[in-house]
């Protein structure tokens, strides 16, 4: 049951140099893959581009063929109420359950803002959020 809410994010290793993000975005555009959301995490000289796309398998293959290092990461997407306290509610549900958020980023969906979460105990997180009335993205949404 929880599994149907686990979404495949693609994570791409990228050097911090001009043009790398454009190369990734261009490759996905050429393959007619739609990007819902992305974020960039940077460290010393390199970074990881994280993206939620409509066809993750195709995106993985396309980028790997171009020589990028790509892997899948399991994340969940939570619809946030578009009012004060939306984020804090989600964070406290997980915090109370002892679930650690490794990173998060958000995008504006059609009807609501969506928070993408990478957590350490993903199935627990799904159960807790559903149990507290949260609305999660279905895996199939991103297929």
């Amino acid at each position: 049951m929880e599994k149907s809410y686990i979404v495949k994010q693609i994570s791409i290793f990228s050097e911090n140099r001009p043009g790398r993000l454009a190369a990734i975005a261009g490759a996905l555009r050429d393959a007619k893959i739609n990007i819902f959301a992305f974020s960039i995490a940077e460290a010393d000289g390199f970074g990881v581009v994280r993206a939620l796309v409509d066809r993750p398998e195709d995106a993985h293959r396309t980028l790997t063929d171009l020589g990028f290092r790509v892997s899948f990461t399991d994340v969940i997407g939570v619809k946030m109420r578009d009012e004060p306290g939306g984020l804090s509610d989600i964070a406290s549900v997980l915090g109370d359950a002892g679930i650690n958020i490794e990173y998060a980023y958000a995008y504006s969906g059609k009807d609501a803002a969506v928070l993408i979460l990478r957590v350490d105990q993903i199935e627990d997180a799904v159960r807790q959020l559903l149990g507290h009335g949260g609305e999660l993205l279905k895996t199939s949404l991103s297929q």
């Binding site: 000289g45 970074g47 990881v48 790509v70």
Partner: protein
Amino acid sequence: METIRPGELADLQLKRLRWTLHQAENVGLYQRKFKEAGVSPDEIRTLDDVEKLPFTYKKELQAGYPFGLFAVPMKEIVRIHTTSGTTGKPTVVGYTRQDLDNWSELIARNMTMIGLGEDDIFQNAVNYGLFTGGLGFHYGAEKIGATVIPSATGNTRRQIEMIEDFGVTAIHCTPSYALHLAEVAESMGKTLDTLKTGIFGAEPWSESMRTELERRLGVKAFDSYGLSEMYGPGVAFECPEHNGLHIWHDCYLTEIIDPKTGERLGPGERGELVITPLVKEGLPLVRYRTGDVTRLMDEECACGRGVKIARLTGRSDDMLVIRGINVFPSQIEHVLRSLPEVGEQFMVYIDRVKHLDEMTIEVEMSRAGFSGELQDLARTQKKIAGELHNTLGLRTAVKLVEPGSLPRFEGKAKRVIDRRGAI
């Protein structure tokens, strides 16, 4: 010749040394040098007397550009090779017909030693121009009756097709090009089943590189040592024991010295290799400072051949001095190749930032082992820097770069870029 008795060898060496000194007297440089050192070739009565003779330096060869050190008239010189000096003029080496015979004989001996012969199909994937590795191995391999493919470098996919289509059993190339061949062969899905022997030379390579090349190419890897001033490749070579290189004592008189004081070191002590070639006609040399660091090995080889030199850890002119610490690029390579997280290639940059030397190492990520998590990358970066610190005693900045983004080399790899001189 491979198994000559020690006494006979010494007699032969002395006879040939005296011949070489007389040959050297045809050269203006040596007339001057012998005079300055107050020594005449006739005073050399034992092999130990060689210590009375002056050293010859590469810069003296360069100063003689182009033909100043030839000991025979130009009409007797039948071949020229040159080495591009990183600084100043190239070194020009001239060969008489006898020199070419001697040289191919030495290469032939090496190839026979590792079991190659007329049944072998030999692909010579090195530069065929002025570089001595191409023609040197070409004639040596023909001498043993192997079928020689003068493939030279470049067009790697074609090289791989030839290995497959011609049933190549032995290949000669630089270790960095061998790695590139393995990489391309894997991407083409070729397993190179006929290939059994790899001869790798022209740049120092580590034991971890050996493991990798043997695994990926399915060969036994043999180290080949030489330098243009001593004809080229063929001076010393690994036997099937793969533990040190046999140097051909009937043709090369070797000494190991302390590079600072010039004093001779004992067996087992590491220092600079000094060679007096014993059969060279066109360009005789006396106590030539090779700049290569090695030692004469104490232990006898199980194969019964003569005294070996240890594998080279680098040339003293490749040696980098970073914040007062001596670093050989081969040490960096050894560390990196032992880490599974590290991919095919690396580059080393040295800068001077506010009067301090800074070494930056760019490392390609391996194709396996990317978890997608930033903190795992940061951990890998830290691990690499930690291992380098352990080995070199030096802090370095490690940069992870994408696979395939660093330059590939077909000839000698130039992985170190020292930017301290440039302003």
